[in-house]
């Protein structure tokens, strides 16, 4: 239980930062949901008739997270050499923990992200750049689900850190649920995009990001220590 609470709360606090990144996405499809209405009044209107659309979007997103978590867990399990060499037991936990610490430090902007991650991810002619605008404009509820599924893949340090955490479980179900809990934690802030963005100041959002980063680092250190202990 506690294992799920941590990713949930990291998701919750961290999503104050997500607001800046994913918020515009939410707003973008909200805009297309009721075309012809003045932008300033859009959110309230979209919120009323868009409950199911939002739900579909978030469901898709959580699903992607969960699948990524499960996948990472399986990959880690496959890559775990501890099975063959007793002396390496715990090495994957150590690796996951270390990754989390590094990503957490990157989130805190103590470390720069490695350059291969910061290369321009998508040209304007890449597949997502071509297909996502279409999804945004579509009014169907299924397209929101697809959009959510795609959003889950967006490069985000926080979700990577959580995927690393999920990976260390080496259990696809556990990985799935950890990532789902994380995704669920990010829902409130995004669900109430219009509302929360106006209430939360920049400071609060930065604070949320920092708290999430510190939590990630703490979790990473604990995991790394655990792994190191098993290794020694």
């Amino acid at each position: 239980m506690f294992d799920l609470l941590a990713p949930f709360s990291i998701g919750f606090v961290g999503s104050l930062h997500c607001l800046g990144m994913c918020g515009p996405l939410v707003l973008a499809y909200s805009l297309h949901m009721n075309e012809g209405v003045h932008p300033s009044s859009t959110y309230a209107g979209a919120w009323q008739n868009g409950f199911w659309h939002h739900s579909a979007f978030h469901l898709g997103r959580i699903l992607t997270y969960g699948l990524l978590g499960a996948l990472a867990a399986v990959l880690f399990n496959l890559a775990d050499l501890g099975r063959f060499f007793g002396g390496l037991r715990g090495s994957m936990t150590l690796l996951g923990g270390t990754l989390m610490v590094l990503l957490g430090l990157a989130l805190l902007q103590v470390l720069p992200l490695p350059s291969f991650l910061t290369v321009s991810p998508a040209g304007s002619d890449s597949f997502p750049a071509r297909s996502i605008p279409r999804l945004l404009r579509s009014r169907g509820i299924g397209s929101k689900m697809l959009l959510g599924l795609a959003t889950g893949f967006l490069p985000c340090g926080l979700s990577w850190a959580m995927i690393a955490k999920a990976a260390t479980t080496q259990n696809s179900a556990a990985g799935f649920f950890i990532m789902a809990a994380f995704g669920l934690g990010t829902v409130p802030a995004l669900f109430l995009t219009g509302f929360s963005a106006s209430v939360l100041s920049l400071k609060v959002r930065i604070l949320g990001e920092k708290i999430a980063a510190v939590s990630v680092i703490t979790m990473g250190i604990i995991l790394a220590l655990k792994g190191a202990k098993a290794l020694l």
């Binding site: 930062h17 607001l19 800046g20 990144m21 994913c22 918020g23 515009p24 996405l25 707003l27 973008a28 909200s30 805009l31 012809g36 209405v37 003045h38 932008p39 300033s40 859009t42 959110y43 902007q109 470390l111 720069p112 992200l113 350059s115 991650l117 910061t118 321009s120 991810p121 998508a122 304007s124 997502p128 750049a129 071509r130 996502i132 605008p133 279409r134 945004l136 967006l154 490069p155 985000c156 340090g157 995009t193 219009g194 963005a197 106006s198 209430v199 939360l200 100041s201 920049l202 609060v204 959002r205 930065i206 990001e209």
Partner: protein, 858 residues
Amino acid sequence: MSSASLANQHDRAAGNTCSLCGLPIGRSRLKQTVNGEELFFCCPGCHYVFQILFSDPDGAPADFKSTDLYRACVAAGIIPKNEQDLAFRQALQAGEQHPTARSILEDEADLARELTFKVDGMWCTACSWLIEEVIRGVHGVLQAEVHFLSDLVRIKYLPHRVNPEDIQKRIAQIGYSAAYLGQSEFSRENKQLLLRLGVSSILTVNIMMISFALYFGFFQDLGENAIRYFSYPLWLLATPVVLYGGYPILKRAVIGLRYKQTGMDTLIAVGTLAAYFYSVLRMFEGSLHLYFDTASMLVTLVLLGKYIEMHARERVSGGITELYALANQKVRLLQNGTERWVAAEAARPGDSFLVRAGERVSVDSRIVSGRAVLDQSVLTGESKPLRKSTGDEIMAGALVLEGKLQLQAIRIGNESSLGQMISMTQEALAAKAPVELLADRITKWFVPAVLFLAAATALALLFGHVPKDEALLRAVTVLVITCPCALGIAVPLAKVAAIAAGRTNGILIRDNTALDKAKELTALLFDKTGTITEGNFSLREIIAYGIEEREVLRRIASIEAKSDHFLAKEIVRKARQSSVALEEAEHFESFEAMGVKGRLKCGEVSIGNRQFMRCRDLDLARQLARHAESLELKGATVVFFGWNGKVQGFLNLGDRLRESAPELFQEIRSRKILTWIVSGDSRETTLAIAAELGVDRAVGQALPKQKAEIVKGLQEKGHRVGMIGDGINDSAALAQADVGFATGIGANIMERASGITIIGGNPAKILTALDLSSLTGRVIRQNLFFAFFYNGLGIPLAILGYLNPLLAVCAMFASSLTVIGNTLRITRVGKNNSKREVQPQEPVDATESLRCYSGDSG
């Protein structure tokens, strides 16, 4: 500095924050160049999203800052206003502030300027006195009015003696922050309070948990020495609550002491600190009787109460702040064929501008071209869309639902309907009701009295050999239970709620006493034209014997072109429509409530009612008179015209009853209120309409003076009279009546001598106004009762020791909550019975055929 160059500078400066989410970019090196502008991103995610959202699928990336999405994001606060943005806005604001401030400066002898600040951090009415006193003390300030509930400070000052920044600084010195309207406003205060409340409540919950466990002997088995260890965590938990959570309370209490003003903060601060420091002392003595729970609970509940009150205030005054928001809009100015966005204040009468569907018209204007469906519900409270086309006037604040309009500004700033509504509302808010003054005075003396009472209680109990603990506890209880926080908001909150609720319903309350009296009215007098009829006269036919229609229209319209009577306007409009060339009339004269005359090349022409024809010695043929009478009995309005010693014919001007009129009169009758119709129109027309509506009495052909006399007569008979009129020729009657209701749209709202104005003119709003009046009266009485009830009941119980501070805190909280909850009922007025009609109203038929009778076709 022009806004364009500011904008550029602003864009260039925004280099160290993420272009999407606004967070600092830190060590990220992601950037992209769009339209020659360098954009930076804090993480690949933001970059990715940006590329997806703001790149045009069909080709080159569009200017993303002009997309709807970007605007929506900024409006929702997702793309935040970063530091540069803030500076940019301030610069804009400063640029905008000065011209308006200057425009007030009309009178040369009086160099004073007015200035409105929004003040953050006011906790109670005592804060507003303090600020008022302190600003008044500033050299160069003539007048200062602080409105606690709307957080506004209106200052009249001499610009050559003191500048606004100094006044702002002075306010900051005493612990509040002042900003120009539309700047930081509510949110910052709100967030800080929320954070304090959050921290305090989490810690308090823990304190309560441990304390309860201790009270109920949960740890008894551990022995006294072990239990003592629980004191330290309690102390540790309570300290941030008292010092961080309670900081604003303590700060204001200290500032209050320095300025010899005591308020509810003083009471809370004394109570909290007494409980806290006493407990600290006892803790080091090793006692188990500690009151950290009391101290932290007190702070937390006070913060919670404040938080709720702040939200109630915001909700209650929503209708008023909406007005400011409407007035702070931009217009798309059309200059030499190019469009340019400027602040609404920068527009001048005569400027033309464009408004598209989904946008609001921000200044009073006339349609130059185009037609549109408009929603004026923000102003009138009626959701029925209206159709308007070329030549029609539009009030600032109307929302264009469909169509595109080119408009010409006719009134701007303080003269526009919106400006007038704002100053009227401010006037109403500024005036303090007698009850309110009393409550203020009581609060002022209450606090020292309570402090004295608490001290006396403690002393008396100590001499009465009550244990120290107990004496202190009871004194704190007395302090808390008598805290007049509910009393401070009981009346003003209700007043603001009523004014705001009226405003959202299209009822503008200018005078609080009018609102107060409206519930006691026993007779309502209605003017006919424009009140119970639509006031949109259309010239249906011209009845003349032996003269050509165009010639008749030419002569009449030439005279009427000089008159500003509403019937005249319709006649001239009709003449223009039939492209009749008018000539210049000479010796024009207007006779009040009778008619007009003037000289044309062909001779003297008189236009007016029967009486006027008689005065002018014009002979009215019997056949013509009979024909006119038969039309009048159907409710039409008839205007005669004549020359050469003879009435030549008459005009049949039709007006329609308002849709809501029959229902309205039925409802008024069921309330046992006497109804009268008093009209300047002919007796026959008035009676016909009165009979149709079932009005108690009707008087036609009444001069403005007579209307006032009728009101006076009714008053002498013991009636409390409400007069409903358009305010132009009823001003004497409106002023004479106990409550004057003016109906009308557009210009000169301020000139109307009425306590209550019904924007949009639907007389059915009278009922809403009456309901609002009686509800407000009830709520104020109930609020005062609740506020006094808890205090009155609590004091003796507290002295006798039946209450503990915790209960007292809860009682105080309950009293505030009751008052707030009760007041919120007012905001719901008019919401239950407003049916939403989506069907657009049919425009009045302007192309009605103009028939002409010649010969003997009577």
